[in-house]
Symmetry: C2
């Protein structure tokens, strides 16, 4: 156990140890050309010997830019966000950024203070993994200061990278209609009605109308804090009494929730009820879940989002917000089948 308070060595310590000036040390650190290989090694030795590690704070203060990426995520407990967070972090690290996460848990205050904090840290940019709870205030905090990119969600004051929610919803709904379902309901996201949800709802409605069917949209009833199991069961029970034979859920999380309710209520999936999700989280692919769903290209979404934010930060990309949409793919598993009878 080494003693803790050992002060960090500074560039001056290194300079003294190597018998050069601090700018020479700086030059070595930054790898600028024009340092004799002799001094270079001497400096390097001093660095190694002192365990010197440049102070990023000082560097960033003078350079007037950081390599910190702010990431705002609603709920890391939701596998889709967790998986996206992982990809985002990897992509950021690959480009020399460090990710600072704010898990807002859907709480407005947490979101706002998190964003303000990110601005105080002078984050180079912020990446929204889920729709801000308070879009207007979020906008007032970050817009105009640093670039923002919305992944899997949207706003008009930043770049948007998302799956083709509308087309995906069409595919999903069409799959259900093609199987012969007539009473197909849409189940909206339990957390918040976001842009993606909206687009998915649109795609759903279009297919329904085209097929001469009546669109029916349900929202999970939200309890203070969390959804109550009994409440959910009641809701789902009611829907099934409405003779709905298929449901398209705006995301896998909700779809799996639905599967749970169905199990508890003794409703068989897919015999009595077909369910389609959206996202294709790892869990959806488990044999026991076997959820038919729309696959979002997670690594690509993350990679493009980070690349875009990077380009904005570097000044390589300028002008009005860009919009990048990636294709989704229907993954058919065990939760969908033709209706009975």
């Amino acid at each position: 156990m080494t003693a803790l308070p050992a002060r960090h060595a500074t560039i001056l310590d290194v300079a003294a140890a190597a018998g050069v000036s601090k700018s020479t040390v700086s030059n070595v650190i930054r790898g600028v050309a024009g340092v004799s290989s002799e001094t270079r090694t001497r400096v390097q030795e001093a660095i190694d010997q002192l365990g010197y590690r440049p102070n990023v704070l000082a560097r960033q203060l003078v350079q007037q830019r950081t390599t910190t990426l702010g990431v705002v995520v609603g709920d890391l407990g939701n596998p889709f966000y967790a998986e996206m967070a992982k990809h985002i972090e990897r992509a950021a690290a690959g480009r020399g950024y460090r990710a600072m996460f704010c898990n807002t848990q859907g709480d407005e205050e947490a979101e706002l203070s998190g964003l303000e904090s990110l601005m105080e840290y002078r984050a180079a940019g912020v990446l929204f993994l889920s729709q801000p709870a308070d879009p207007e205030r979020a906008r007032s905090i970050v817009s105009g200061r640093v670039p923002a990119v919305f992944v899997t969600c949207a706003a008009d004051w930043g770049d948007v990278v998302s799956a083709d929610d509308d087309a995906g919803a069409e595919l999903a709904t069409q799959h259900l209609v093609d199987l012969g379902h007539r009473r197909v309901a849409y189940f909206a996201d339990p957390i918040v009605e976001d842009a993606a949800d909206h687009d998915r709802q649109k795609g759903y409605s279009r297919v329904m109308e085209r097929a001469g069917l009546k669109p029916t949209v349900f929202h999970w009833q939200r309890q203070p804090g969390e959804l109550l199991r009994q409440k959910r069961d009641e809701q789902v029970g009611e829907i099934l009494r409405g003779r709905v034979t298929a449901v398209f859920s705006s995301n896998d999380y909700g779809a799996i929730e639905l599967l749970e309710c169905a199990d508890r209520l003794g409703v068989r999936v897919p015999e009595d009820l077909s369910v389609v999700g959206f996202d294709d989280v790892v869990m959806a692919g488990l044999a026991r879940i076997g959820l038919t769903t729309m696959r979002q290209p997670q690594p690509e979404l993350a990679g493009i989002a980070v690349a875009m934010l990077d380009a904005r930060v570097q000044g390589e990309l300028e002008g009005p917000p860009r919009r990048k949409t990636l294709d989704v793919e229907l993954v058919i598993r065990a939760s969908t089948a033709p209706p009975r009878g």
Copy 2:
């Protein structure tokens, strides 16, 4: 769309706007007593009007300490870590820290460069959510510089906050033995043999020996990059041929994997095989998974870990590494039953 490059207002801008010196502005920001309420409001107005936001980098540079917490996590795609990450982030934010995540994906290089980066950012402390891939080098990077806390894993050069892995494993194994199982195998963590795994294995072995049974430990065979499905099935098939009737998996992730293999191989759970996990991730509680498992008190683990790290950072806690162990609880679900016959 406001123009981006609007330079951040500084404390000097505020001072000029308010007609005071920058130290007065600083005093207002930091809320020190001894500023006339008149100047205070004048300064506050200037702050609001300019949209001034203190530069944390500059502050931390002069204060010689940051409020950045480094969090090293193996795989955010693993629900247990994602859930823990969420709690850690919340706990950190609650104490005024910002969490900087490094998702190492078990990669040594990623871990090392992540840690070095954290040191360069002068993170106030680092929190390991999973065993470092290269413990020795990790140690040489952080030990002696900033305090480290290991949550759900362990090392002798930092505080450790973990569940009672040994006792938990005992409970789990005993549950199986009490059900009448004689051939009970232990399945080690697929990622890396860490300290928690080791303790769990110990608890398992103790119960087996006490019951006069032969302990059998299996390791998932690791493929370069990831586990191959076929390989896994072969392995599990072989184990079952060995007439094992129950398995205790070192974590839920592995247990669910096992469930998957069993499903594919036509092995019924719990009729042909009982499975107990460890962690109690949300997924384990799904009706369709119904995994009997040991519940780790995630929020408490996270809260205590962050509190401990905070205490170290503040200098309230000093001396040799502390060790905090929390109790775990057996949650019986549908994956365990007496053996047939």
